[in-house]
Structure formats: C-alpha cells, structure tokens
C-alpha cells in the first residue's frame, strides 16, 4: 500500500471542509471493504483517506410510513439486514444486504458505500432502483438530492462531485411484495453473475437488474408490457422476449453473455410466478 495521510472528521461540516481542501487527492473511507482492496492493489492512490465512521450524523436507519426509510452512510449491511423495519417493510432489501460478501464483510461494508462504488453488480442496489430511492448529498453549496437512477452514470462513475459527501439514501414507503435474487457460483462470498429485484405494486411490476449493463437498470419496457396483466405462461414468454431487448450483458470470467441472458429470463419467470 502506498503512503497516505489518514483523517477522521467527527462532523459532516468538518468532512466537507477536508473534501473542499483535498478534492481529487482524497478518498472517502466508510466500511473499507472495497477501498482497502483497491488501496492494496494500488488501483487508487489517494494522498488523503477521509474516514467518515466517526461522524455520528451518518449513523443509523430511520423509518416511518410517511417519510419512508432513511439509511445513513455508515449503516452496515449487518445493521440493515437485521433492522426490524427493513425486515418488515423492505424484506427484499434486507435480503439483498444479507447476500453481500461474507459475515465479516457485512459487519463492515455499508450499503451507501456499495452505491458510491457504483459497480454494475452492486448487491444492495437493485432494491434502491425498484423503489426509486433518492441519494441525499451535501456539498459546499448545501444539500441536494439525486434520484438513484441518475446517480450512477457508468461503471464506477457517479454524479458525486469531489467536494461532496453522500449522507444517506431515502426509500419511499410503498405497499408491495418483492423478491430479490442473486445468481452466483457460490451462495456466499461471490460476485453476482446476475442480481435482480422484482416488485409487485398494485397491478404493476417494477423490475431492476444488475450485472446486465454498465449500471444497474430498470426494465421499463418489460414493466410497461406487464402492467395490469394476469400472469400466465403466454405473458411470461412474451415478457422474457422483451427482457432480452433491454439488457446487454457481457461475457467475462464469471459467466458468458448467453448464460446471463438465460439466467435473467429464469429469474423473471420465477419471480413473476411467485408474485402472481
């Protein structure tokens, strides 16, 4: 690991001042399960590491039916997967967080970190896409919010400026049933070949997939087709065809393009049958 200075601000204000001073020379550290690996492999070479874990304002998970769910930047996957309200009202998100890495990783990794890493296969991201979550950002000009679908712009690219900090993610409360699916070579400690969340909200479906495009995506055409339809074999077959027009997976060391298309179709079929 190359040399860097380590700073641990105690307030958001302090962190923003440090970011404003150091800008592209700084990397924000939360759980560190991605950042430390990238430091070790010298993929990133910051002069300053800003550890945000001592900022109490960024801790915690809050919920009420009117405001929805707020997940702070320091909330770990372990905390989210075991949170009473997340388990009751967003069980597919609890499931997603419970499928990240290993127990040791979940005890440190954060869902907001997962979002800022902006990997196309981020395990906890498809629930955010399905619920049209909002990313709460603070910078020198104050607070702003970005819809999650606009926050990630490409593989490991976001709209976050170098002097800004993500405070947390807001999920609206939506009455729904949902299913989270992760396909990987092993159940734990593996990167996803395909990851998906499918929700049924009233007579509509919301479908988000990861690892099928440069960013996680919503399958809007498939959703449009399924709107108000009764699920039967014919509808499922048609939906599976439309799905293939919306995804563009690649072949890599984990899976081939063809396999990913086939698995994506199976996930859609299984989820639609289970949700009815």
């Amino acid at each position: 690991m190359r040399e860097f200075e380590y700073v641990a601000p105690k307030t958001v204000k302090e962190a923003l001042n440090l970011l404003a001073t150091y800008k592209e020379k700084a990397t924000i550290l939360a759980g560190g399960t991605d950042v430390v690996v990238r430091l070790r492999d010298e993929i990133i070479d910051p002069e300053f590491i800003i550890d945000i874990k001592h900022i109490d304002e960024l801790n915690g998970i809050k919920f009420d039916k009117k405001e929805g769910l707020f997940v702070g930047a320091n909330a770990t996957m372990h905390e989210i997967q075991n949170d009473k309200n997340v388990k009751e009202f967003y069980p597919f998100y609890a499931d997603a967080c419970g499928h990240v890495g290993s127990k040791q990783v979940r005890n440190k990794a954060t869902s907001v970190g997962n979002l800022c890493t902006a990997s196309p296969l981020g395990d906890s991201l498809t629930p955010m896409y399905c619920l049209d979550a909002t990313v709460v950002i603070e910078g020198p000009k104050g607070k702003r919010e970005a819809p999650v679908r606009e926050f990630i712009t490409f593989v490991r690219k976001t709209v976050l400026e170098r002097d800004e900090l993500v405070l947390g993610v807001k999920f609206p409360y939506v009455e729904c049933k949902g299913i989270y699916t992760k396909n990987a070579r092993r159940h734990e400690v593996d990167l996803s070949n395909i990851v998906a969340t499918i929700l049924k909200v009233g007579d509509e479906y919301r479908i988000a997939y990861g690892s099928v495009a440069p960013t996680p995506i919503r399958l809007v055409k498939t959703e449009e087709f399924l709107k108000g339809k009764k699920i039967d074999d014919k509808v499922i077959e048609e939906a599976k065809k439309i799905l293939t027009t919306e995804i563009s997976p690649i072949s890599d060391l984990r899976a081939t393009k063809e396999y990913r298309v086939s698995v994506s179709q199976s996930i859609l079929e299984n989820s639609l049958k289970a949700l009815g």
Partner: protein, 158 residues
C-alpha cells in the same frame, strides 16, 4: 506520512501505539504486537484467515486500516484461552480434528466465537452461512461444522 496514535483494548488489555495509516490492522497485530494467530490468506476479504472480533463482530483485519483500531475492543485468538484453559470452541476443534494444516483455524475459531454469541441455537444451515467467509483448503468443512454443532449441543442453547 504522519503516524497515527491509536488507543484500543486488545484481548482485555489497553494498548496505545503509533501506527502507519497505510498498514492494515492485521499487519499491526502480527508485526507490531507479535500476535501471529490471525493470518493473511487472500488479503482481500475472501478467505477469513485474518478474522478478528471487533466490538463483538467478526471482521477481516486485512480490510481494516490500522488507524481504524482506535477506540475499539479487539479480540484475537490469543485472547480466548484463560489461564491455559482453552475455550469450548477451541477444544471442540481439537476433539473433532477440525483442521489439518491449521492456517485457517484461528479465523474459523474467531468467526465461530462471535457467531455463537449472536445465535445460541443455530441450525446447520445458519452455521454454514456464518462460516462461509472462512475458507479451508484441507478438511472440506465437514469436521468444522460438526465441531461447531457439538459446542452448540453441549452449551444447550445457553
């Protein structure tokens, strides 16, 4: 590069020392504090050989920067046995011969120790999930899972 002063509890003892920010907690524990139970396997949070318990939770010490130790309560495998007496988990690993080369064993024991505090009566499947972040390339896990089940049975859910 500025060194960072950290104060933390290690195996019940208060420690204060200067660490380099670009060292991992694992490196500090092994090379500055000479506790070599935790091992570096993959160095990327996949194998669990470096597992230690921080504030009651099992974490990969290879993914923790040294300054992150500040203020924490840290337990390593060296802190388990009291007065030369092994814990029931350590003894069960011996009784079940749940190891061959032993490189992964401290990590497995620390994961098990933290997990059985959180879940007193786990199912076999829950044990498998809890230990999935620890890799063993010798025994094939059967004996390890059996050792953990034996501890659970002997403790009787306490």
């Amino acid at each position: 590069m500025k060194k960072i002063n950290v104060k933390f509890t290690l195996n019940g003892e208060l420690i204060e020392l200067e660490v380099q920010p670009n060292h991992t907690a694992l490196r500090v524990i092994r090379e500055q504090l000479d506790l070599t139970g935790a091992k570096e396997g993959c160095g990327a949070g996949e194998c669990g050989a470096c597992t230690i318990i921080v504030d009651g939770l099992a974490v990969n010490s290879c993914l923790m920067l040294a300054p992150e130790l500040d203020g924490k309560n840290v337990l390593t495998v060296e802190g388990l046995a009291k007065g030369g007496k092994l814990t029931d988990i350590q003894q069960a690993f011996i009784d079940h011969v749940a190891l061959q080369c032993g490189y992964c064993t401290p990590g497995f024991i620390m994961s098990t120790t933290a997990f059985l505090e959180e879940n007193k009566k786990p199912t076999r499947e829950e044990i498998e999930v809890a230990l999935a972040g620890n890799l063993c390339r010798c025994t094939g896990y059967k004996r390890i899972i059996e050792a953990v089940e034996d501890v659970v049975n002997k403790r009787g859910g306490k």
